[in-house]
């Protein structure tokens, strides 16, 4: 027993044993760290990234200004200011739409709440900025994100009956809502 121990000691057996893994990895070198930004990880199918507002195929905004996303959002990211579509009395839309992305926790509840699928979660995540205020997005910015992230747009909803889309013809010069 003693002799064996002595041999092991003089041949640095235990150290070699310890080095074995190291040497193995040295020989079969395989990097684990992703060389971001030169390399990017593939995203999951249902990845929840930057939010965006969407349009129909004819370019009209989908959002009808219903405020439901605002109500659904747990961290009060969204602020919708809705009003009547100019020139189309009694039709509702979001005149202004803001998202304060510094607070968003990407839960996707707004997307689920939206009755007309006007919100989408893109696969964008590279939104680091030096100025936080840049993460306070308005409607135009959100639509632009949607435009680049979802180039294939849904078809405009079809009305069951053309009457819905038209305002009565017998009254000319219908006044706009007072303001």
């Amino acid at each position: 027993m003693k002799f064996r121990d002595w041999i092991k000691t003089i041949t640095f057996y235990e150290i070699l044993l310890g080095m074995k893994e190291t040497i193995k990895h040295l020989v079969h070198y395989k990097p684990i760290t992703l060389q971001y930004p030169h390399e990017k990880k593939p995203l999951a199918e249902n990845y929840r990234g930057m939010l965006a507002l969407l349009r129909y195929d004819d370019g009209t905004e989908k959002c009808v200004g219903c405020d439901l996303c605002e109500a659904a959002c747990p961290s009060r990211v969204i602020r919708v200011i809705s009003t009547e579509v100019p020139g189309e009395p009694t039709k509702r839309y979001a005149k202004e739409y803001y998202m304060d992305m510094t607070r968003c926790l990407f839960c996707g509840l707004c997307v689920q709440a939206c009755p007309v699928d006007a919100l989408g979660m893109t696969r964008e995540y590279e939104w680091a900025v030096y100025d936080k205020r840049k993460l306070h997005l308005n409607k135009e910015q959100l639509l632009a994100i949607g435009d680049r992230a979802f180039p294939v747009r849904e078809k405009q909803l079809e009305f069951q009956h053309p009457n819905v889309a038209y305002f009565n013809v017998s009254f000319k010069d219908i006044p706009e809502k007072a303001n």
Binding site: C66, L68, A71, S82, E84, N163, N168, A178
Partner: protein, 898 residues
């Protein structure tokens, strides 16, 4: 006794809970009392049951089929089940049929979040529908600038139609079409033209009728609510102001809440934007040498005022000051204002806008019966069997009191006697004279004469109560001889109505058990206003109604707190109470509460103060919210008076014509931004609550008085409006309880006795004398400045909603006059008389009496210059509502008018 008890109540069991309810109660109401909510659409407690929606079906034992609980009265021993499987099944099918045609609009529907259909669908139906068919779709029609319909959402419950007819008596809406294709339309080829009370919007259980004014600006869950009181008339309706991020969104009301019981008029429902108009003053202003205003801090402004006030007091004495306050202010502010004027400045020269007429009624009431409030309530109006309305277009001036009258007549079958200038012709808005059983059409000059005619008729027919001849023989005798001096021929010559007209009315009035007299602006704001009210009280005394329960006289206040202004002592002749200025006990009591002396000098009314300012006796005025320059006609020379002052301070919401003459202008808060109380025309004290933060740097008026008193070295300080109210409570009776007072004040018998024995003698001859001769030349019209349903004072002309209904004044004339003068609808006309001329446009209106033209007082358009000005010798009320004018058609168009 036991028998009687069971006659009065029946036993009913709903879902296992037993209760005793009065017979005739509907099952749905009985269930509500028990605490079981039976879902319903078409039923509403204000409306007669229609039972058209079938939502309220319940199972009643021993009745084979399900019954509509909204139309089934309870019966003894009835056992009702509202949540058994077959009832739920029935409910589900009712909803399924409704949803078969209902659009999936909830996200963009303003009702979403507070919709009965939404709630019931969530509760009782599965999440998917079985219908594959296309939904019914109506072409969208333009409805009106303020009320919008979405007929695809209508469930045809007809609540709106029934409300408009049964409650409002307007009948602007009607169903058209059959079955599922029924839609609600208004009756004309034009856009909706109605009272715009908003009742249909509020009563629609779904989002089929919505307000266009707030459309899409909100979702119900975002709104912060504050129950407060409307500021537009003396009725004192409770409104709920709803705000989102300190922005006014909408106003609504709750069934069962407030004296209005959830009903409103257009001013209350659509007029809320006046207080957030862009012209609101945001900073204190000090006038510079060159006449411009510089924005300054509160400190600078208040210090300047305190310094100048102190200087003037030192140089000219306390009576060099005059104070004028609007009765749109809260009681707390009115009280503190008069306290400030009396204690800090040391003068009794105070007046308020109650001077424009309300004071006439109060003086008469105090004189004859020793009260300053109504001795009746709204409930008494509804329960009355005869109502006498004198000189009031009540549906326009006091719409909610008007609703009570409508309810009495339409639902309780009361007899209605109207002495009014309006003709009983239906129009787009309701007209109380059309409901009258006896209508006495009177030229606006002669309401007093018509009252005299009625009293004459009562006496001639021997309808005066017998006991009175024993109690006060001279009283009856004097009146008899006084009215005897005005022969029927005189009455007939002026009124065009003879003895016969009054016979029936007098008989109905005398024989009634519960009579109420309501006197309006036509009486209170016209010469001899106080006398006519006194005569009306005489009438009550003569027929033996005076002092009987449920009987009495009410005067209708125009401004929301006219009544409070008088009770707070913000008028020249009264201390808080109101007590006479010379009343020693009241003075002693007040000085104890105030810890300060009450000045001895006499008060001065508005007209006297203006006169004194002109002669240089008055050196400084403090005007709060009042705008005499734009209210009084030019002969009053208000500008001249104000310009002669050494120092004028105005506290205002806007830079008005009066404020433009001030040395310092202070920005005040509107009613929506402060706490306090208002006292309505009926004498009911109600809470005003802050609905939003003050706009700009504006502050509640009372804070300003308090701050000034501090700077002037005589601090009267309070932490909040409630503390002032506490002091009011100790100083003035009738302020113990907020809300409807359980018992209105009783008449004071000793005062009545004194009046009947001696008091009446001083002026009975004058009050019943009639000298006026009709001097109206044929080609002239009587021009009356009247209140419109859609506006209140000048304040409401800043409300964008109301401006969409009525944006400018038109001269309303009867088509007969129009034909005679060669005028057509919309023609530009020139009005002229010896005082000047003005231009406007004509609008034909059937209910305007022949020979008279109405112009809304809210729009000036130089019309004011045509009116004469007369000041009441006793009550010092300025009268300027009637005049005579020539009306000529103008050839050229008026630029920028109409």
């Amino acid at each position: 006794m036991a028998n009687q008890e069971s006659d009065k109540f029946v036993t009913i069991t709903v879902d296992g809970i037993t209760a005793r309810v009065p017979p005739g109660t509907l099952v749905i109401e009985a269930a509500r009392q028990i605490g079981v909510m039976i879902p319903h659409f078409c039923y509403h407690p204000k409306l007669a049951p229609d039972a058209n929606c079938r939502m309220c079906l319940v199972e009643i034992e021993k009745i084979p089929k399900l019954q509509t609980s909204c139309s089934t009265p309870v019966a003894e021993g009835m056992v009702v089940k509202s949540s058994v499987p077959n009832v739920e099944e029935a409910r589900k099918s009712v909803l399924e049929f409704i949803l078969a045609n209902h659009p999936l609009d909830c996200p963009v529907c303003d009702q979403g979040g507070r919709c009965d259909l939404q709630d019931f669908s969530h509760e009782y139906t599965p999440t998917t529908g079985r219908f594959k068919e296309l939904k019914r779709i109506f072409p969208k029609e333009y409805f009106s600038p303020l009320i919008e319909t979405q007929m695809n959402r209508c469930i045809q419950c007809l609540r709106c139609v029934r409300y408009c007819d049964q409650v409002m008596d307007v009948q602007a809406l009607a169903p058209s079409g059959r079955g599922t294709m029924t839609e609600i339309k208004h009756f004309s080829i034009h856009e909706l033209d109605c009272e715009f009370c908003g009742g249909c919007v509020q009563i629609c259980p779904v989002g089929a009728i919505t307000s266009r004014l707030s459309m899409y600006d909100f979702r119900p869950w975002m709104l912060k609510r504050a129950d407060t009181i409307c500021t537009y008339c003396g009725d004192g309706c409770q409104i709920t102001i709803q705000t989102k991020d300190n922005e006014l969104i909408e106003v609504n009301s709750t069934h069962g809440a407030g004296r209005n019981n959830g009903d409103l008029c257009p001013r209350g429902y659509f007029g809320y934007h006046a207080s957030v108009h862009a012209d609101r003053l945001n900073h204190p202003l000090i006038r510079q040498q060159d006449g411009t205003y510089a924005e300054v801090t509160w400190e600078d402004a208040l210090e300047l005022i305190a310094e100048r006030f102190s200087q003037i007091k030192l140089a000219h004495g306390a009576d060099a000051f005059g104070g004028l306050i609007t009765s749109r202010c809260t009681n707390e502010e009115l009280y503190l204002f008069q306290k400030f004027m009396r204690v800090v400045l040391g003068t009794n020269r105070i007046d308020s806008s109650a001077r424009y007429g309300h004071i006439n009624g109060i003086q008469a009431l105090r004189r004859v019966q020793g009260t300053h409030r109504w001795t009746v309530t709204y409930e008494d109006i509804v329960a009355a069997d005869t109502l006498l309305l004198v000189g009031t277009n009540i549906t326009e001036t006091n719409p909610i009191t008007g609703l009570k009258v409508k309810e009495a007549v339409k639902k309780q079958g009361a007899a209605l006697i109207t002495i009014e200038s309006l003709l009983p012709i239906r129009g787009t808005i309701s007209n109380i004279t059309t409901l009258a059983s006896h209508h006495v059409p009177v030229h606006p000059d002669y309401f007093g004469l018509a009252v005299l005619g009625l009293i004459k008729s009562v006496l001639e027919q021997g309808l005066a109560t017998a006991s009175l001849s024993e109690r006060a023989p001279t009283f009856v005798q004097s009146i008899r001889s006084a009215v005897g001096k005005v022969p029927w021929e005189t009455v007939e010559r002026h009124l065009g109505l003879g003895r016969d007209t009054f016979v029936e009315a007098a008989r109905t009035f005398s024989q009634a058990k519960r009579v109420i007299i309501l006197a309006g602006q036509g009486v209170l704001r016209a010469p001899q206003g106080s006398d006519v009210v006194t005569n009306l009280l005489d009438l009550l005394i003569l027929t033996g109604h005076h002092g009987r329960p449920g009987c009495g006289l009410g005067t209708l206040a125009e401004e929301n707190n006219d009544q409070g202004a008088v009770e707070m002592g913000a008028v020249a002749e009264y201390l808080p109470g109101p007590s006479e200025l010379g009343d020693q006990t009241a003075r002693k009591n007040l000085s104890k509460i105030w810890g300060d002396e009450i000045p001895q000098s006499p008060g001065a009314t508005l007209m006297d103060m203006l006169e004194e300012a002109r002669t240089g006796r008055l050196k400084a005025m403090f005007i709060v919210g009042e705008n005499p320059v734009a209210t009084l006609p030019p002969q009053a020379k208000v500008e001249e008076s104000l310009d002669g002052l050494e120092f004028l301070v105005c506290q205002e919401l806007f830079l008005t014509e009066t404020a433009k003459r001030a040395h310092v202008v202070l920005p005040a808060c509107s009613y929506a931004e402060k706490d306090g109380t208002f006292t309505n025309t009926e004498g009911c004290v109600q809470s005003v609550r802050r609905a939003m933060e003050p706009i700009g740097e504006s502050r509640p008026d009372w804070e300003v008085f308090s701050a000034l008193s501090l700077l002037m070295g005589n601090p009267i300080e309070y932490g909040e409006a409630k503390e002032i109210f506490k002091e009011i409570r100790s100083a003035i009776s009738g302020y113990g309880l907020l809300g409807p007072s359980a018992t209105p004040p009783r008449i004071k018998d000793e005062v009545v006795d004194r009046y009947l024995q001696e008091g009446f003698k001083t002026d009975v001859e004058v009050r019943y004398a009639f000298e006026q001769e009709n001097t109206q030349p044929d080609e002239m019209l009587t021009l009356a400045s009247v209140q419109s349903l859609f506006h209140s004072g000048k304040f409401s002309t800043r409300a964008k909603g109301l401006l969409q209904i009525q944006a400018s004044g038109f001269l309303n004339v009867n088509p007969v006059d129009a034909t005679r003068l060669g005028l057509a609808d919309g023609d530009p006309v020139r009005l002229s008389n010896t005082r000047g001329e003005a231009t406007t446009k004509v609008k034909l209106l059937d209910r305007v009496p022949v020979g008279v033209a109405f112009f809304p007082e809210h729009f000036d358009q130089n019309i004011r210059g045509l009116f004469s000005l007369e000041t009441d010798p006793q009550t010092r009320v300025p009268y300027f509502k009637l005049t005579r004018v020539r009306v000529d058609r103008m050839q050229e168009e008026i630029p920028g008018k109409g």
